[in-house]
Amino acid sequence: MLRAQNLHIQRGRKTVLAGVDLLLNPGEVLGVLGPNGAGKSTLLAGLCGELRPSQGQVWLDDRPLAHWQGAERARRLAVLPQSSTLDFAFRVEEVVGMGRLPHQSGRLRDEQIVAAALQAADAAHLHGRSYLALSGGERQRVHLARVLAQLWPGETGQTLLLDEPTSMLDPLHQHTILQAVREFTSRGAAVLVILHDLNLAARYCDRLLLLASGRPVALDTPRQVLRPEPLKAVFGLDVLVQDHPERGHPLIIAR
């Protein structure tokens, strides 16, 4: 389980993230919302050890994150960055297979897992294609399949960090991909996902963290966080909040 305790992060001399306390529960999807430059990606970089905290600590299970060995950590914590650059003509299943690097599960098992992860990311039909021939959205789904394969099948104690996994996807795939992420957590893994779409966050997240200028403003259920007052305060956006007529979750409409 991943836990942040009073996390502060500096870039140069500027404190870009301050006072974040966070515990990712097994099986939960936690969404991170906030305007551009609010510190969402910095938080993610701090949670995966890419940036060192200037104050506070990140824990993976009972040990500080920095005390974990590379491969041992990679078996419990996977990260999907906003965008990846890969200029070599790997086949799709080879890219997804890179997710199996920290494991010694054997070629046969790896192939099964790669196929299952591609299926989960709705990218099974891309099997055999060259990565360079894919569109931006298809590449994003292949990388999602890669991080799913890294933790597959996903169990309690494992954590997946996703930085805007839907940014390049068409409307249908925004839903199928977040649905796939939800299904992945049903086996016990925890997910932290940075999102920009408030309605996607309302529908697919169990809890939401609202960030503004590097500070946590709210950490609660979507119904508590997605109210007109905090949204006005953080995004400067006037909204109406209604209930989704069929599903009941909050529906955010700009005025």
Partner: protein, 345 residues
């Protein structure tokens, strides 16, 4: 351009190509030997019981001249191609060249120093000449690469973009120093210097061969162990770290292997360009970018192609001999341009 050929087919094909190139390299030259005699003499040299009748001349030529030259070609070609793969992985760019980290220019500087200073001081006994030259070239390559690597480091991290720029600057600086040595050289040393800069497998001897063979074997055994990490590195340094790769250690190993490998190759055979750039590229076109196949296949392809280039160098103007660097550049540079133009289209 994903894999067109299955790895097993590729390795069988490249293995046969390598054997064929070796056979031809042993047989052809100013004195061409019948192919069958070459084979029998080679088998005898390997200690197999083959009748010796009429093979004395073949055995002498093979043992004294052709075999060390062929082994030199195999090792130089293999290790240059491997270093090319390592650098293209490190810089995550399929058009990177081993020379980028300054190892070739450093070696050239070391060699120029040895050639010019050696002859100016005139103090070196004849027998040590070649060894001093090789040693200076090797140390020059290692030294400049170490400096480039140091300049690329900040806060415990290696910035490959900074390394690239430092490599360009130090290459220019080494070039000016080589220019100064050239200016100071007299006519005889100038000729040695020029020929060294063009590369040659001529004059190979077992004594100069062993260090290179050891280094090549070490690099060729070590790098394939890092194949999957290299694949992950192509995703990006932070992605590789998320996959559990110790990225700093990997980068250090890649630079060290390249400095060692190219340094030893240049020390033994002079400057031979474009092998490290073009060979990995050719292999990728045929077999895809997976380093588990690319690394061993590049060794075989690099070794074969260098032997074939050496055959051209030996036979094109026989009995005179072209420097092999001219041949590799003459074939490699247009191919590189073709890749550039095709990539843009």
């Amino acid at each position: 351009m994903t894999a067109l050929v299955k790895p097993r087919t590729l390795f069988i094909g490249l293995g046969l190509l390598c054997l064929l190139a070796t056979w031809l390299s042993l047989a052809l030259g100013p004195v061409s030997l019948p192919l069958l005699d070459t084979l029998r003499a080679a088998l005898r040299l390997l200690g197999l019981p083959v009748a010796a009748d009429g093979l004395e001349q073949a055995e002498l030529i093979l043992g004294q001249i052709r075999l060390p030259r062929t082994l030199l070609g195999l090792a130089v070609g293999g290790v240059l191609a491997l270093s090319g793969v390592a650098m293209q992985g490190l810089f995550r760019n399929p058009l990177a060249d081993p020379g980028l980290v300054g190892v070739s220019s450093g070696a050239a500087l070391g060699a120029a120093f040895a050639i010019v200073a050696g002859s100016t001081l005139g103090g070196l006994p004849e027998a040590f000449g070649p060894y001093v030259l090789s040693l200076c070239a090797f140390l020059g390559g290692l030294g400049v690469t170490a400096l480039v690597y140091r300049l690329g480091r900040r806060n415990g991290q290696t910035h490959v973009a900074t390394m690239l720029l430092a490599g360009i600057a130090l290459t220019a600086l080494s070039g000016s120093a080589v220019g100064l040595f050239t200016y100071l050289a007299d006519d005889a040393t100038l000729r040695t210097l020029t020929f060294w800069n063009l590369g040659s497998l001529n004059g190979a001897s077992y004594a100069r061969l062993w260090p290179l063979l050891l280094v090549s074997a070490g690099v060729a055994l070590w790098l394939p162990r890092r194949a999957r990490q290299l694949n992950a590195l192509l995703l990006g340094e932070s992605e590789a770290a998320h996959l559990g790769v110790n990225v700093e250690a990997l980068k250090r190993e890649l630079v060290f292997c390249t400095a060692l490998g190219v340094g030893a190759a240049v020390a033994a055979a002079g400057m031979i360009g474009f092998v490290g750039l073009v060979v990995p590229h050719l292999v990728r076109l045929v077999a895809g970018p997976d380093h588990r196949v690319l690394l061993p296949a590049s060794v075989l392809a690099g070794a074969s192609l260098l032997l074939l280039a050496d055959l051209v160098a030996r036979l094109a103007l026989a009995p005179a001999e072209l420097p092999i660097g001219i041949v590799t550049a003459f074939i490699g540079a247009p191919f590189f341009l073709y890749l550039l133009v095709r990539g843009r289209a």
